[in-house]
């Protein structure tokens, strides 16, 4: 492609045609502030409505200021990013945003992590010249997400995520002019919408308009209650991101420090969701092989491909959008719920505590998990298997509140028996990981042979939709992978119309998988953070001595002592579930 030469703030720069002024400036270390703009270039996710007008710059020969995020460079262009005119315009625009924004920064969930706050600070805004009416809306609290629309700045990132990336369509810009805001249909609560609680809207919201339901207070009370035994499980993606909240470089693994911190917080048992991930592989892998063998034997009624079911937002998605396909996904519960079910039965019995006195808390990179543990089918006599779930961010807050110097903690191990895991359990945290873990186990069980190499590179990466064929000792097994619900929708459509023939498919709702979950430390549009987290996940896998779920000694023991074998009646009762058709709309017809 041809190159274009231009001048930005008196510096020459040469960039390929099609580059924006913003990108060109970044190349020579001129960082033009932005607000609505966001790009996760590795995922092909971009929000560029050109609406906030914070990134305006002066372009010689142009009548008005140009939005640098949307303006492409032209040959010989002369750009100035910091003239009086630009600075006045930029701070006036930010003042205008602030004039329609609550000034409750000190008690805002986003305090310290708010892009608008940073912008106001960077621009040195000390007063709001243009005061006036502020918009007010009803707050909406769902099981996972809180919408405080008063804080919406109309950057439209959430709308883009919900519609273009996730194709969920729960959010849309509504009204117009000063009254325009991003909201649900008829401004009803999220609970009444098609929201899957994937939390990607929260992950990209620059302000406190979209935040998670916070359970840290409840946890503090439970930990302090001498009558309760409090057990924690941590999802694999958490350890690859938690460190960022304490100033560590993205991709820093903090597994040991995390376990130590949890113990210091007062948890009675520090366990690992990875253990349940290994258990999931046993159940889901066996289910896969069962269906596969029936299919290979010529059974036409068998439902293939089998779809993974560990992602709760994905489950919500197909219940809303593809209810007719709800017999295809694996019936295996997610690792969070398997963990809860085992903790409140097997483990509760083991330590002799009644399940109602046992509080199971999960630390998740995910906001949909908050909803998942509240699903009625995951409770016994009204007692949920998992009491509640905290996000990675909430855990970080809690550690900070409890005066724990995270970075100087020693590395500690998880407790047993529900803390032991294999590398297969760890890679659940990234796109492609679940299916790779399943392949490791299914291959060995199906062929009776030991894998020479456990790394299935062909299943890894960040492409939205991937596919690979794995040779199961002569039987080619077709595997599909999608992350991001929009990609999942495409894959499902291709199955429905018959253009794709897969035996097994992994779907993760969030771009990148759980490493990019809605409960993770904010990436602020930097996709290199997601890449670093993914790398960390694979590193942890490599460091493990055991890398196949069926080799986890505590899993083997669990089956011997309690469950019998995969898909046994007991396993069915505790570890499997069923799905609902949520597509029905309430339309009364006379």
């Amino acid at each position: 492609m041809e190159n274009i030469k231009l001048t930005i703030d008196n510096k020459q720069v040469e960039v390929p045609a099609g580059t924006t002024i913003l990108e060109a400036a970044k190349k020579i270390n001129i960082h033009i502030p932005t607000l609505c703009y966001m790009s996760l270039n590795d995922m092909h996710i971009e929000n560029k409505p050109g609406g906030c007008r914070v990134c305006v710059v002066e372009v010689e020969g142009r009548r008005n200021l140009a939005p640098s995020c949307a303006t492409q460079v032209t040959e010989g262009m002369v750009v100035k990013t910091n003239t009086v005119r630009v600075l006045n315009a930029r701070s006036t625009v930010v003042e205008l945003i602030l004039s329609d924004h609550p000034a409750d920064c000190l008690i805002c969930a986003k305090n310290g992590n708010c892009e608008l706050q940073t912008l106001a600070q960077d621009l040195g805004i000390r007063k709001i010249t243009y005061q006036g009416e502020q918009s007010t809306y009803r707050e909406d609290t769902s099981p996972s997400i809180i919408r405080d629309v008063d804080k919406c700045v109309m950057c439209r990132r959430c709308e883009m995520m919900c519609n273009e990336v996730q194709t969920v369509g729960a959010l849309s810009a509504i009204n117009r002019g000063f009254n325009s805001v991003v909201a649900t249909a008829f401004e009803q609560n999220l609970e009444k919408s098609t929201c899957t609680y994937c939390g990607q809207c929260v992950a990209v919201c620059p302000t406190g308009a979209l935040t998670e339901v916070d359970h840290t207070r409840q946890l503090i009370r439970d930990l302090a209650d001498p009558n309760k035994v409090v057990v924690v499980q941590t999802a694999p993606a958490v350890r690859a991101a938690l460190g960022e909240e304490f100033g560590n470089a993205p991709g820093t693994l903090v597994t040991g420090k995390m376990a130590a911190a949890l113990r210091r917080l007062g948890f009675d048992y520090v366990f690992d969701t990875d253990f349940a991930a290994d258990l999931t592989i046993m159940e889901e892998g066996t289910e896969l092989l069962g269906r596969l063998n029936r299919f290979l034997a010529g059974d036409k009624d068998v439902a293939l491909p089998i779809l993974t079911s560990c992602c709760p937002a994905w489950v919500n998605f197909f219940e809303h959008s593809f209810p007719e396909m709800r017999d295809i996904p694996s019936t295996a519960r997610s690792p969070q719920q398997m963990f809860g079910a085992i903790a409140k039965t097997y483990f509760a019995e083991k330590i002799g505590v009644h399940r109602k006195k046992l509080i199971v808390v999960s630390i998740m990179p995910c906001l949909a998990k908050k909803y998942e543990c509240q699903r009625e089918e995951f409770a016994t006599d009204g007692d949920p298997d998992v009491n509640y779930s905290l996000s990675t961010r909430e855990l970080a807050h809690l550690i900070k509140q409890s005066n724990i110097d995270f970075n100087h903690l020693p590395d500690e191990d998880f407790d047993n028996p529900l803390g032991e895991s294999t590398g297969a359990g760890v890679i659940f945290g990234t796109t492609g990981g679940v299916i790779e873990a399943a392949t490791r186990t299914a291959y060995e069980i199906q062929t009776g042979k030991t894998l020479k190499k456990v790394d299935f590179e062909e299943l890894r990466g960040l492409e939205g939709i991937r596919s690979a064929t794995i040779d199961f000792d002569g039987t080619p097994i077709n595997i599909g992978i999608a992350h991001g619900l929009g990609n999942a929708r495409k894959l499902l459509e291709s199955i429905k119309d018959g253009s794709n023939k897969f035996h097994a498919i992994e779907i993760m709702a969030c771009p990148g998988g759980c490493i990019g979950g809605g409960g993770q430390p904010f990436h602020h549009g930097d996709s290199s953070i997601l890449k670093a987290r993914q790398k960390a996940i694979y590193t942890e896998d490599e460091m493990k001595t055991l890398r196949k779920s069926h080799e986890n000694p505590y899993i083997i023991k669990l089956y011997e002592e309690f469950l019998g074998k995969p898909l046994s009646e007991k396993a069915h009762q505790l570890l499997h579930t069923h799905y609902f058709d949520k597509s029905k709309k309430e339309i009364f017809i006379d």
Partner: protein, 597 residues
């Protein structure tokens, strides 16, 4: 075939229809039948004559007698007197406000004398629901000429040479626009006619569509030929039912005649036109917003580039022109670029249609050569200010424009001169204001409009205009400060400089123009807490003129808040702190003893 001796043209434009022009036609036809004149006299429902102030209009041909404010009851007299006896019905003739004389022939009326009608050439002349009448007036001749005698580039060159510029507001050279669209290769392209006229107070597009739909259809087909598009879309306001109806009839008739559709005039060129409806959003006049709206989306504009010529409707190259622009095209091709460019000024060729309204005697639709002065338009064509009041300002360009004053009256109107004077052409709304209009309130009125019509996508327009409005509101309530005036100016500049689309970029114009031209009036509101025009309610006070007051107590008894006191037969007094300024006292007083200050 009967040879009619008389054609009675009755205006069927929206304004006249609203005043029951249909009833007039019924009555005329009934009388014609009664008198057995069916073979001599023909009635025709035409598009708008333009002289809306005096509507409904009935024009008698061949003698060009122009009857104004006709009622159905007048039909009988018109037939009996004028048609049968050859005597004009004097009381229905237009009276020149200056000479007080009746004017019978429209050609001798001040309103029409300075006009040159190109875009409006057929309005008030043809029955828009009858394609044959249009064909007899050269409809589709230009298309035929283009298809058979010219290649697309030659057509584009002719339009370029004519100097035609977009009449929707931007003034972009039309030929150039077509050329860009022609150069972008694609399997499918679109021609869009923007009939979503949003200016409050501009109705020329509606009148053209109602009065001469075929000229627009023909021009769209010509445009399609030049750029290689075989599909046209008309985006029209749903609030224009009559225009929609006539367009539908016109499209159907053109299809039946083979002038639209497959293989037009045997040339192998296909072109068809569909309708798309707006739903009440001013911003959809902006072409990218319009395109999104046609795609079933919220009508929010997007950043250009890409321009619609590159990626427009459904991502395909799309050319958008407004109604008036299209209406000029067939004439240019038939009469030639040279003829067209001989009219107008150096950089603005041809004519411009204006919707003349407000405090003016002759409200209506006019078409004048570019370069006509505001004075000619307001005082000669428009007949001056209503009720003998003093001219104060004229607002051009609608909510995007500015207010021009006395000192601009001799400015020849064209795209560039209006811009230089701090206003703009816009789509051609021209609202005349007199001494009773407060310019701060006027600016507030336009900002109120912008705030309501802003799409909300970009910050400066969404929040900035709201803040401008709030400051203006404060000032009209007497709560403004001098600092507010500086803030108004700074914010206006920032909005102009940073807003995403044309609507936002021009929305502060009414504020800046009034600040520039009527700063004294702002000062009066802010410093003296007075509204010189007496229009801002909050700045007015009611007082009793003691000399006139006879103490009849009528005002005190009528006052809803009991703030008037006084002895019987003694001058009364109004308690200013309690007065709600409802004006009841003034209404009730029979002695002119209440004044507003």
């Amino acid at each position: 075939m009967a040879t009619y001796k008389y054609h009675l043209l009755v205006c069927g434009g929206t304004g006249c229809k609203a005043s029951n022009s249909e009833g007039i036609i019924t009555a005329l036809n009934r009388t014609i039948e009664e008198k057995g004149l069916e073979n001599d006299v023909k009635t025709v429902t035409t598009g708008c004559f333009g002289f809306c102030e005096k509507g409904p209009i009935v024009k008698i041909l061949p003698d060009n007698t122009f009857y104004t404010q006709v009622k159905p009851d007048d039909a009988k007299e018109i037939i009996e007197e004028h048609i049968i006896k050859g005597r004009k019905v004097t009381r229905l003739l237009y009276t020149d406000p200056e000479t007080k004389k009746h004017v019978s022939d429209s050609k001798h009326m001040g309103f029409y004398q300075k006009q040159i009608r190109i875009a409006l050439r057929n309005c008030g002349f043809l029955d828009p629901e009858n394609i044959e009448e249009s064909i007899s007036r050269d409809a589709y001749q230009a298309l035929g000429k283009a298809l058979t005698e010219m290649n697309p580039q030659q057509v584009i060159d002719e339009i370029k040479k004519s100097g035609l510029r977009g009449r929707g507001g931007g003034g972009f050279p039309t030929g150039l626009k077509w050329e860009i669209a022609a150069k972008n290769q694609a399997d499918q392209k679109y021609v869009v006619c923007n009939a979503d006229e949003g200016d409050p107070g501009a109705f020329m597009d509606r009148s053209i569509l109602e009065g001469d739909p075929h000229s627009v259809l023909e021009a769209m087909a010509i445009c399609g030929y030049t750029m290689g598009a075989n599909k046209g879309l008309i985006y029209i306001r749903a609030e224009y039912p009559l225009a929609i109806k006539r367009l539908k009839i016109a499209i159907k008739q053109a299809q039946e005649y083979g002038l639209l559709g497959h293989n037009i005039m045997g040339t192998g060129f296909d072109f068809d036109i569909e309708m798309r409806y707006g739903a009440g959003a001013f911003v959809c006049g902006e072409e990218t917003a319009l395109i999104h709206s046609m795609e079933g989306e919220r009508g929010e504009p997007t950043f250009k580039p890409p321009f619609p010529a590159q990626s427009g409707y459904k991502g395909k190259p799309t050319n958008v022109n407004n109604v008036e622009t299209f209406a000029n095209v067939p004439v240019i091709l038939l009469k030639g670029a040279e003829w067209f460019s001989s009219i107008g000024t150096e950089k603005s060729k041809g004519t411009k249609v204006f919707a003349l309204a407000g405090k003016i005697n002759n409200v209506g639709l006019i078409e004048v050569p570019m370069g006509t002065t505001l004075r000619e338009v307001i005082f000669e064509i428009g007949g001056g200010i209503k009720d003998g009041k003093k001219f104060k300002a004229v607002q051009t360009g609608g909510p995007s424009g500015g207010c021009l004053t006395e000192k601009h009256l001799d400015t020849p109107i064209d795209f560039d001169n209006l811009l230089a004077a701090g206003s703009m052409m816009g789509s051609g709304g021209m609202i005349v204001m007199d001494e009773d209009d407060c310019m701060v309130a006027m600016a507030k009125f336009f900002l109120d409009f912008t705030v309501e019509e802003s799409c909300g996508k970009c910050t400066p327009c969404r929040v900035g205009n709201k803040r401008l409005y709030e400051i203006l509101d404060k000032i009209t309530k007497g709560e403004g400060t001098l600092e507010d005036l500086d803030n108004l100016r700074n914010l206006s500049y920032v909005i102009k400089d940073t807003a995403l689309c044309g609507l936002g970029q021009t929305s502060p114009n009414p504020v800046l123009a009034t600040l520039d031209n009527f700063y004294d009036e702002y000062i009066a509101h802010v410093v003296d807490k007075k509204c010189p025009a007496g229009a801002c309610k909050d700045l007015m006070n009611y007082y009793v003129i003691e000399e006139n007051c006879v103490g009849c107590t009528a005002c005190a008894r009528a006052c809803p808040v009991n703030c008037i006191s006084g002895e019987r037969k003694m001058p009364h007094h109004i308690d200013q702190t309690a007065c709600i300024k409802c004006g009841t006292c003034m209404e009730k007083c029979k002695f002119n003893a209440i004044e507003i200050k």
